[in-house]
Structure formats: C-alpha cells, structure tokens
Amino acid sequence: MSTDDSLEALYRETILDHNRSPRNRGQLPDATATVGLLNPTCGDQIRLDVKVVDQRVVDIRFTGHGCAISMASASMMTEAVKGKTVEEALGLARDFKRFLTGERPQHDLGELEALSGVSRYPSRVKCATLAHNALEQALSGSPPNPAGDA
C-alpha cells in the first residue's frame, strides 16, 4: 500500500473532521452516569457523561485526550446514541466492536463505519473502542466484557 492509500484507509475525511471539531464535547452537570476510562498502552483518557431518562439517552458529552481515532470515535458515538434507548445504544456499542474485528455490523453504524480501516491496524482497535467501552459501562453499570474489547 502506498503512503496515501494506507493513510486514507485509516483517516477518512469524516474522522479528521470529528477530530478537528468534536461534537458533544464537555461535561453534563446533571449526568445520571459518569465513567472515566484509560487506555494504559497509550495513555488515552476519556470521561463520558450520560443522562438517561426513562431508559433513553437524552444527553451525552465527553472530554479527554487521545489520538484522532479515539477522539473521532467518541465524537461519532455520542452523535449516534443521543436519543436512542439504552438497549439500542448498548446494541450499537457491541455491534461497533464486532465491526472493528472485521465482522459485518447488524445495524447501520452511520458515520462510525468510517472507522472500518481501523480493523486493519490491530494496534489502533483499542483507540477506537475506548469510548464505546465507556458507554457500555455507563449504561450497564458494569465493566464491559473484555472479550468484546478486541
């Protein structure tokens, strides 16, 4: 693969855009759940604030620092799950993690599909799943299944 091809496969324009202008960045003073996660291999950190009302994710914000993949993935995830039921959001997180190991997603992942190139870079899968692991933990109240951590 040439320089450009290898970079395009990983950093789609959507990802660069979310990295430059992250959506839903910040904290929620009235969050119903807050989760902080750390990726010990690279030091990436995320704090996810979720507000759940009547089993629905009515608001979600994140802060943290990390690579373009982890920050864009967090930004896209917050957009994808806002307004969804807890069950739908958990399904999306699990589906996304399967998608990164090369499986076909069961649902439409929307913009998150721009992260498909990550599956070819095993060292970056943990970056892309950090926010999704935080989401699972926030919504289920327990640490995510490590088997799904890829």
Partner: protein, 407 residues
C-alpha cells in the same frame, strides 16, 4: 562484515526493505536494535553445528555449546570492563536483571526505615521492582528531583541520599529525555553512605563505552536486543562480593551444588543465578553482537549516536509547532517530541505511512510523563546504521504530518 561506521548499514538485511513504498528509515532502536548478518549467522551456525545443552553432557556438541556460551560471557565481560567473566550473569534482559537485584539483594538486606533512592525519569523496570521491595520490607522509596531541563539535580541528590539510604537505582541514559546521567558522581554519594549503586544500562551500554570499574556501579543491568543481539538475552553484571551476598531467584537445575531430599546448596556465581537451561543461542548471538560493535568501535558509535541525537534535537526544535524534551546537549542518540495538537500515535501512524518507524506512547515512563505534563510523546532514536539523511526523512515526515492534520 564491513566493520566501519560509514558502510555498516549494508550489514543489516532488514534495512534494505521498503515500508509503504518507501525505503525503511528505522528510528526505533531505543525500543530494539536491528541485527547485523554476523549475529544472525552466529545464531544459525550454533543451531546448525553445535546445538546441545551446556554444562551437562560430555559429548562433542555439548563441549562446543558450553565453549560458545562461556565464550560469550567472556566477550561481554571484556566489553564492559568487568574484572572477571563470572561477574556476568545472563538474564532475559534489563527488566529481569533489575528484578533479580530487587528480589535477590534488596529483599534480603532492606529493613524497615531503610531508604531506596531513584529518580522520576526511570523506566518502569527501574521503578516498580523498588516500589514492590519497599512495600515488602518497610523501606521507603525516595526520589532525586530533576532540573527543569530534564537532568539530574545534583543538589537534590545530595539531600536525598543520606545515612538511611541502602540502595540507589538510576538509569545511565534516559530512554525519553536522552539525558546522560552523572552515574560516577551519584555512585560516589551512594558509596559515601554505604549504599549499593544499581545502574540501568539498557540505553547506555549499546551506545556508550562502558567500563564498570570507572562507572562506580555495584550492579549494571542491560539487554542484548538493544545492542544488535537477539531478544530474550540480557546481562546482570555485579561486583563479585555483591553477587555472592545475593539470593538466587530461580531454583532448579543447573544452579545447585549438592541436593538432598530436604535441602540444597547453591552453585557458585554466576551459575547460582542461571537456573534452568539458559538462552544459549541468545548468548551466542549477543557474543557476536559484542564482536560486531567492538570491531566498529564503541568510541566511534558513541560519538556518532550523540551527534545524531543532538542534530535531530536542533532540527526538530526549529520546526514550528514541535516541542522537544530533555537537554539539547550533551544527549544520547534519541529525541522525544510532540507536534502541537496532534496525538503522538497519529504522528507515528503518518510517519509509518512514509516509511519512518518511530515509537509513540509513554515509553514505560508514566511518572516522567506526569513530570513533563504530557500524556505521551513521539520518539526517534538512532543507532550506528542511521545517518543524517535519516534525520532529513524525519523532518520531512514531521512536515507531512502537520500538512495531513491541517496544522
């Protein structure tokens, strides 16, 4: 083997390969060095001609294997200026060597109230063993503070090293800051209070002339794979009297003198520390690496690596948006840096797409990252096979990364 610095690159087969359509520029030797043909062939020859277990059988192959293994010990001893080859203990690497000292020496000698002194720039392998042994023995872990430029603050060292100090552990060359630490001066302070000086030589032994007598160390741990040898082989050197007062770590075959049903006595140093079948091929490869580095000349390699490190520091520092860490000079042949607004993992990924291999992360130095107030950094590190054209490619990759992320 060409055995000159200027043409040594051709001795390393891997450096002829391409990555993403570009000739590979390998700038990650601080993580692991590439291997010259001489090392690869020594290992192959050993397996093809002489493979046998050492110190056990009387057949020809066993004699040859033992001679090769002990020959490697003698080569390493000469390479670091050890008085006796028996002071060279083969280990898996620096981490194992430092753990051996923590568990075999420190756990036996430390008492509650004693102090162990280290610095905030240490690799986790020269920190966590001391944290653990302090926890077990009730000793206290103390830190020599750093000056703002990332060098050891000698006044802080003089304050921290005192009558309660039993052990001082310091790296000779920082794997992040590139700082060359004043080991001899610190060792003098340690010895003045009766403490033992432990030196992490993972980054220094491959890149600097090492004379253990002048260094002032009581223990020196280093890894074979960072000095052109195979992975899985390393060295713990210690003064004989210190090694003799140290407990073995691995009990079993090869490390005993006499065994009854209920008890055993230990073999002499170094066999006492080499329980089990050792990494014979690794030692043979390390011996070949020592021969290779010696033929080129460690003085020349040291000057070359420092020059590249200092040049890379200046060139990177002059690029807008680049932050470099540690002292400008003197420094070892590595530079940690960050690009404003771009995460080091993304930097390393774009570099890779340009065929430039660097490291990104916390470099197993989380307390140092906290001191620098960064999450992680990129790091370019150099060795004998790098030259100025590699620094050109490094700077080009920096510019390409800035363009790519629109900075």
């Amino acid at each position: 083997m060409t055995a000159t610095l200027a043409s040594c690159k051709r001795d390393f087969p891997i450096l002829g390969r391409e990555v993403h359509g570009h000739p590979l520029v390998y700038l990650d030797s601080a993580a692991t060095a590439q291997k010259p043909r001489a090392v690869l062939e020594a290992v192959r020859r050993y397996y093809e001609q002489s493979n046998a277990n050492v110190h056990r059988s009387v057949h020809t192959l066993a004699d040859e294997a033992t001679a090769l293994y002990e020959g490697a010990r003698q080569k390493v001893a000469a390479f670091i200026g050890a008085e006796r080859p028996e002071e060279v203990v083969f280990t898996r690497g620096t981490t194992e060597g430092l753990n051996f000292v923590a568990r075999g020496w420190a756990a036996r000698h430390l008492k509650p109230g004693d102090e162990v002194v280290t610095s905030p720039m240490e690799h986790h392998s020269n920190l966590i063993p001391w944290q653990q042994v302090c926890r077990q023995t009730g000793a206290r872990l103390r830190f020599i503070e750093l000056s703002p430029d990332g060098t050891i603050d000698l006044q802080s060292a003089a304050r921290v090293i005192g009558p309660k100090t039993r052990l001082v552990a310091l790296s000779a060359l920082s794997n992040v800051l590139g700082t060359i630490n004043p080991i001899a001066a610190i060792a003098e302070m340690a010895h003045a209070v009766g403490a033992v000086m432990v030196v992490d030589g993972a980054q220094s032994v491959p890149h600097q002339v090492t004379r253990v007598q002048e260094l002032g160390a009581d223990f020196l741990a280093f890894s074979g794979h960072k000095m052109c040898g195979p992975t899985g082989i390393g060295v713990l050197w210690g003064r004989m009297e210190r090694l003799e007062e140290m407990d073995p770590i691995l009990y079993g075959g090869e490390m005993i003198a006499y065994v009854s049903r209920d008890a055993a006595t230990w073999a002499a140093v170094p066999a006492k520390f080499e329980g089990g079948t050792p990494n014979i091929a690794g030692a043979v490869g390390l011996g070949a690496a020592v021969d290779y580095l010696t033929a080129i000349g460690m003085e020349a390699i040291e000057a070359h690596d420092r020059r590249l490190g200092e040049l890379a520091y200046r060139r990177l520092a002059s690029v807008p948006g680049v932050t470099v860490y540690g002292p400008p000079a003197p420094r070892g042949g590595l530079v940690a840096f960050n690009l404003a607004g771009i995460h080091p993992h993304d930097v390393a990924q774009v570099f890779d797409a340009h065929g430039v291999a660097i490291r990104a992360g916390h470099h197993c130095c989380q307390p140092l990252m906290q001191w620098l107030d960064v999450g992680s950094t990129a790091r370019a590190s150099f060795y004998l096979y790098n030259d100025e054209s590699d620094i050109d490619r490094l700077v080009e990759a920096v510019e390409a990364t800035k363009r790519y992320f629109g900075q």
